[in-house]
């Protein structure tokens, strides 16, 4: 049996060596990782707005950047729905700037054909991040994507899968009187004969709590954009 001080010394040494190795790797790879994340976010914005050539295909970094600059006009709105001049979404510092909301507008042949809005909030285990895209009527959902979450793969993690997100397309966020109802993920299958079917999508079995989270934060986020959506409409 080795002495206690040897054991302590040995474990300390191993910890220090491994620690240095890991921090060196993390620091040297950080730039590339951030670049990848940024690119992935852009891909998701494009995919939510159904801009061809991005969904599922392995578009290169330049292609994604090109598609983004060609098709997207980004700006920031305040809580009254007015565009904040001279501020781009990249410049928003979430720590100091509140009540400013980024908007990614899809411009097709000079005309607006949709808006992608960032959505985020608690699922079951983690914060989920994604984009909800609306048609130019600011009512019909064009698409939705999730690019970052820590939900259980195969259960809550299914929110990022196409079979789930494709159900959102064509749903409406406002009722006939112009009240915001957002989109609800229901438990089980949507009853198509119900009058609420326009605002509902099929649930994921085993992911009820994750989708409950989605219901809450999608509505909250849409509420923040409400003045802007009313204006743009």
């Amino acid at each position: 049996m080795r002495s206690n001080s040897y054991t302590l010394g040995f474990t300390a040494l191993v910890t220090i060596i491994l620690g240095i190795m890991l921090s060196a790797a993390a620091t040297s790879l950080k730039d590339r990782q951030l670049l990848n994340e940024e690119l992935d976010i852009k891909k998701n914005i494009l995919a939510s707005l159904k801009i061809a050539g991005t969904s599922g295909s392995k578009a290169s970094a330049q292609e994604v950047q090109q598609l983004f600059t060609d098709n997207i006009r980004s700006f920031v709105v305040d809580k009254d729905g007015n565009v904040v001049a001279g501020l781009s979404p990249d410049q928003i510092d979430p720590k100091t700037m509140v009540e400013v909301y980024p908007v990614y507008e899809k411009v097709l042949d000079g005309a607006t054909s949709g808006f992608a809005l960032p959505i985020s909030g608690k699922g079951l285990w983690s914060s989920c991040y994604g984009y909800l895209a609306l048609e130019s009527d600011c009512n019909t959902v064009m698409g939705i994507t999730f690019y970052k979450h820590g939900e259980t793969p195969g259960l809550g993690g299914e929110i990022e899968k196409e079979w789930f997100t494709s159900n959102f397309s064509g749903k409406r966020i406002f009722d006939d009187n112009g009240g915001l109802v957002s989109i609800q993920v229901v438990k089980g299958v949507v009853n198509e004969s119900s009058s609420d079917a326009y605002h509902q999508v099929d649930g994921i079995s085993g992911a009820t709590l994750t989708t409950k989270g989605l219901n809450v934060f999608i509505k909250q986020d849409l509420n923040n954009y409400l003045p802007f959506l009313k204006q743009a409409h």
């Binding site: 054991t7 040995f10 491994l18 790879l29 590339r32 990782q33 994340e37 992935d40 793969p153």
Partner: protein, 209 residues
């Protein structure tokens, strides 16, 4: 294989068939179910496990005379965990989409019983050279099963192989449908069970009743 001694060849080849970590020892089943829906994820997972297992075996074997017995599990786990985190970081930097698809399962290599099992059962008693080949062999044995399972699951479940369409459109027009079961975990269990059955028929291993 003139490069390797007889012993090392044995160490490398055994886990591929007769002592396969998944089929014979039934270890590492969790990730074998999770990452085998598509073949490309299975291949990347195999490469990641080869790297982690070969490196952890070598490093732990090199330290085996210095590791205090009382804390050996903790020391082995920190080595394994560091290697896994390293792999995860590299994947995130150079194969972002792949790392997203593999999600937590790269991180879960840490808990893959094969890795700690080989460290404890082999690396602690053998020289680094042999431990390296044992790691490569066991990771390959794991990978072969993974790739075999994913081969059937992708063809039957999605009609594709490495993302390329294999089942011709004419089949679908004639009423053929992809087998949804294969995309889900039970499909992996069934395939895995069949593979283990065939493997045991060949190696003539019988469980005691």
């Amino acid at each position: 294989m003139g490069l390797l001694s007889k012993k090392s060849q044995q160490v490398l080849k055994d886990p591929l068939m007769s002592n396969n970590p998944i089929a014979f020892q039934v270890l590492g089943i969790c990730s074998a179910l999770a990452v085998t829906v598509k073949m490309d994820t299975a291949i990347v997972m195999t490469l990641a496990v080869i790297f982690v297992l070969a490196m952890s075996n070598t490093i732990i074997s090199a330290m085996r005379n210095y590791i205090p017995g009382r804390v050996r599990i903790i020391v082995m786990l920190s080595v394994i965990a560091s290697l896994v985190i390293l792999t995860d970081q590299v994947l995130r930097a150079y194969a972002y989409d792949m790392s997203k698809q593999l999600s937590v399962f790269v991180g879960l290599i840490i808990t893959n019983c094969i890795v700690l099992g080989r460290a404890e059962a082999f690396a602690l008693q053998n020289t680094p050279g042999k431990a390296f080949w044992d790691g490569v062999g066991n990771a390959l044995g794991y990978g072969i099963i993974l790739i075999a399972v994913s081969f059937f699951r992708e063809i039957l479940g999605s009609g594709t192989l490495l993302g390329l369409q294999i089942i011709p459109q004419a089949f679908y027009n004639a009423g053929y449908e992809n087998m949804g079961l294969m995309v889900l975990s039970p499909g992996a269990f069934i395939i895995l069970g069949l593979i283990i059955w065939v493997q045991r028929l060949i190696t003539k291993v019988e469980e005691e009743a």
